[in-house]
């Protein structure tokens, strides 16, 4: 299990959980980052990560991405 922040572009992973406050976790989960959901890192540079979740691309600041724990797939 790793943090979403550390995944290189093109990697797919399954969400394991979110280690954040109530508001942040809820917001992320309502946007589709629920445990078990498959996500894909579209772009990752020094700035925010672009992550595809449930057919939608979402930009996540590195601080947010750090709080999403994932299990890489394949």
């Amino acid at each position: 299990m790793v943090s979403l922040e550390n995944l290189p572009p093109g990697t797919r992973a399954r969400v394991v959980g979110i280690v954040g406050g109530y508001g942040l976790s809820r917001r992320l989960m309502e946007m589709g980052f629920t445990p078990g959901t498959e996500v894909e890192v579209v772009n990752s540079g020094p700035g925010p990560l672009l992550v595809r979740v449930r057919g939608v691309v979402v930009a996540l600041g590195r601080g947010v991405a750090r709080k999403i724990i994932v299990q890489p797939v394949g």
Partner: protein
């Protein structure tokens, strides 16, 4: 009256980026009514439509991902749905991303059965390789589902038919949808029976309220407490703690996951994907904009070009400076004269001449002629002369917003903004602020973090708006002779102001909120698409109308007051402006200007003009023009103040930084809901302006001594 003739009220709900504003504009044609939701600053838009002889009133709910209580927008949305006022809730689901956007539809269906679902972007499903079995979705959810394309105008009639059918009970569900919450079910039943025993929340579906209370919904708890059910709230809280202790699980996570499990199982049956969703085409622009190296400069370049074009079209700046610098003095003058502001200016002076002749011939009393010619016309003219600028700026902003370029720019500048305690999203309000500070302060709502929102509310008013640009242009062209000096003066003032805006925001975060980390960025990035003309026009008109109404009334009133203050004195009508009330007020604050080496006759005039600038910046130049009489041009009037270029520059720095205008102060108050903070912010800006301009002035003097 028969039931059929009654107006049907439809609440329109949907995630951000599902195409809600496009569909809303196309369904209703135009906005009938804009107001705020009671007790909030969340905007409420309404539109009317007639179909099959029924009047349908569409009420636009804020775009949200859920109807929990995590933001004011979500509370507004769900309380309106529960209020019983809407006969139907129209939920928009993005047909290119049903796995995500169906989530909100399920949430709404848990709260009310009176739902119609619009599958938006039907035109894009084919190219995204998606096919949706609409009839199967209808069967699963038990409510009408209509595929619509706002772009092509298809499905709209069917959608309106479905709305009427559900409103009149011919179609749709009788009861809300039940999501299976597995192990939580016995507890839901327990809370339901508690609620039923006390009849505590009759307006909400009982099961829905029970689930929300188990999730720890603060808003429902507050409503219960206000109704005197304090013991009930305590009992539910105890139950919640017991569940968490015995299962070791997070209730919210379980609820959201269960709902998404239902969404997934529905999506699996109704969605056929021909291409995999992970290989969408990305245009070159999309790739470049999010590129770590090329992205940020490209984003800023797009913004810069839009603004330069808007400036040039309206005031001739900076095209006139460039032309003049290159030696084409005549061309520069033509550009200035035929700019939109120049044309409106000429139109108003023409109108003023004709009216004066007519009124004098018709033997109107002198004071009335003076009021219209010296007071109202210059006032209205000054507003209208930069109205086109506002419109053009907003067209550019609306295109950036509606095309999907905006979120990408926000992502590309995120890292830079983090240094100032802001997220990339803050680029929106700050850029809007270059047009007008009032909508900039209101745009602070885009922030998901309360602290960042406050930072924007209190720092965005330092961004130089169009009104200040007009003053800056007037003074620099009067006091600096070479175009290069003029350009340097203008650009340096913008740089100073923008740096101070960002520094102020950082100081608020560090000193007031004591937060070291920048705000988190969570932002959906929709695919780039061609902006819809209708939506761009709708957004533009929405912004501009606001400006015209608020600034218009204030400035018209102010020009009447200015005229009165300068035409009357303690002895009645004055012929010499020296004896007017304006002179008395000006003289009382004039001593402060000795700090800048300004004294005597010109000090009170400058002071009075600056005072007028508190109400509206554009009134500053106009006030000076009125004081020196109508015989001379604005430029000559400004030169008559007899300032040195350094004094003029220091005053411009002061003018740019102190409180932008009354309308902005009002906006700060409405957004922050704190009189104390509004006053503090105003005092801060005046202090910032004084200190900065004095530093500039004395630094300038020092340099002059060293050079000579």
């Amino acid at each position: 009256m028969s039931k059929n003739k009654k107006e049907i009220v439809v609440a329109v709900a949907g995630n951000p980026n599902v195409g809600k504003s496009t569909l809303f504009t196309i369904l209703t044609g135009e906005i009938a009514h804009v107001a705020n939701w009671p007790g909030t600053t969340v905007e409420r838009k309404e539109g009317l439509k007639e179909h099959r002889g029924r009047k349908i009133r569409f009420v636009d709910l804020p775009g949200t991902y859920s109807i929990s209580a995590t933001s004011p927008e979500e509370i507004v949305a769900r309380e309106y749905i529960a209020s019983g006022e809407p006969n139907v809730v129209l939920v928009l689901v993005d047909s290119t991303a049903p796995e995500r956007t169906l989530n909100l539809a399920v949430q709404v269906l848990e709260l009310t059965p009176k739902v119609v679902i619009a599958l938006t972007k039907a035109d894009a499903t084919h190219s995204s390789g998606i096919h949706i079995h609409v009839d199967k979705l209808e069967e699963k959810l038990g409510v009408p589902v209509v595929l619509v394309s706002a772009l092509k105008g298809t499905g709209l009639r069917e959608l309106l038919d479905a709305v009427i059918d559900v409103a009149e009970g011919r179609k749709g569900r009788k009861k809300p949808l039940k999501v299976n919450y597995s192990w939580l079910e016995p507890y839901i039943a327990e809370v339901e029976s508690l609620l039923s025993k006390h009849n505590a929340l009759p307006e909400y579906d009982r099961r829905w309220a029970a689930v929300k209370l188990l999730e720890g919904d603060l808003r429902l708890e507050k409503i219960l407490e206000e109704r005197g059910f304090k013991e009930l709230v305590r009992e539910i809280r105890r139950l919640r703690t017991a569940i968490v202790r015995s299962t070791g699980k997070d209730i919210s996570e379980h609820v959201i996951t269960s709902r998404f499990n239902l969404v997934d199982s529905i999506a699996k049956e109704i969605v056929v994907r021909i291409k995999t969703p992970t290989t969408p085409k990305e245009s070159l622009l999309e790739k470049l904009l999010i590129h770590p190296i090329y992205g940020p400069p490209l984003g800023l370049l797009i913004l810069l070009i839009s603004f330069t074009a808007a400036f040039a079209l309206n005031t001739g700046f900076p095209l006139n400076v460039i032309l003049d610098f290159a030696g084409f003095t005549e061309a520069a003058e033509i550009v200035e004269e035929y700019s939109l502001s120049g044309l409106i200016d000429s139109a108003f002076s023409y109108l003023s001449n004709i009216l004066e002749q007519l009124m004098t011939q018709a033997k109107f009393p002198d004071w009335l002629v003076s009021l219209v010619i010296d007071g109202i016309i210059p006032g209205v003219g000054s507003v209208l002369s930069f109205f086109p600028l506002i419109v053009v700026i907003y067209i550019a902003l609306s295109i950036i917003e509606d095309s999907g370029i905006g979120p990408r720019i926000a992502v590309s500048v995120n890292r830079f903004f983090n240094y100032f305690g802001l997220s990339g999203k803050a680029i929106y309000p700050l850029i809007i602020g270059l047009g007008c500070n009032v909508p900039a302060v209101m745009a602070s709502r885009a922030s998901i973090e309360e602290e960042e929102r406050k930072q924007i509310i209190f720092s965005a008013p330092i961004v130089p708006c169009q009104a200040r640009l007009l003053v800056i242009l007037a003074f620099t062209t009067a006091y600096f002779t070479s175009p290069l000096q003029q350009a340097l003066a203008i650009v340096s003032i913008y740089v100073i102001a923008i740096l101070l805006t960002l520094t102020t925001s950082l100081l608020i975060r560090l000193l007031w909120f004591k937060k070291k980390d920048p705000p988190e960025l969570i932002l959906e990035i929709p695919p780039i698409h061609r902006p819809s003309l209708k939506v761009v026009w709708w957004l533009t008109w929405d912004y501009s109308k606001h400006f015209l109404k608020k600034a218009g009334t204030i400035i018209v009133a102010l020009s009447i007051i200015t005229w009165w203050l300068l035409s009357y004195g303690p002895l009645g009508v004055v012929t010499d402006v020296e004896e007017s009330f304006g002179a008395i007020i000006g003289r009382s604050i004039a001593p402060l200007l000795t700090l800048y080496g300004i004294s005597g006759e010109n000090a009170w005039k400058t002071a009075f003009a600056l005072l007028q600038g508190f109400v509206a910046k554009e009134a500053l130049v106009e006030t000076i023009a009125i004081m020196y009489g109508e015989a001379i041009s604005t430029r000559e009037a400004l030169l008559a103040l007899g300032l040195t270029p350094l004094q003029a520059y220091a005053l411009l720095v002061f003018m740019t930084l102190y409180v932008p205008c009354l309308a902005t102060v009002a906006a700060i108050f409405f957004e922050s809901k704190s009189l104390k903070n509004t006053i503090i912010a105003s005092i801060y800006m005046v202090a910032l302006a004084t200190v900065t301009s004095l530093i500039v002035y004395y630094l300038g003097l020092l340099i002059q001594v060293l050079v000579s």
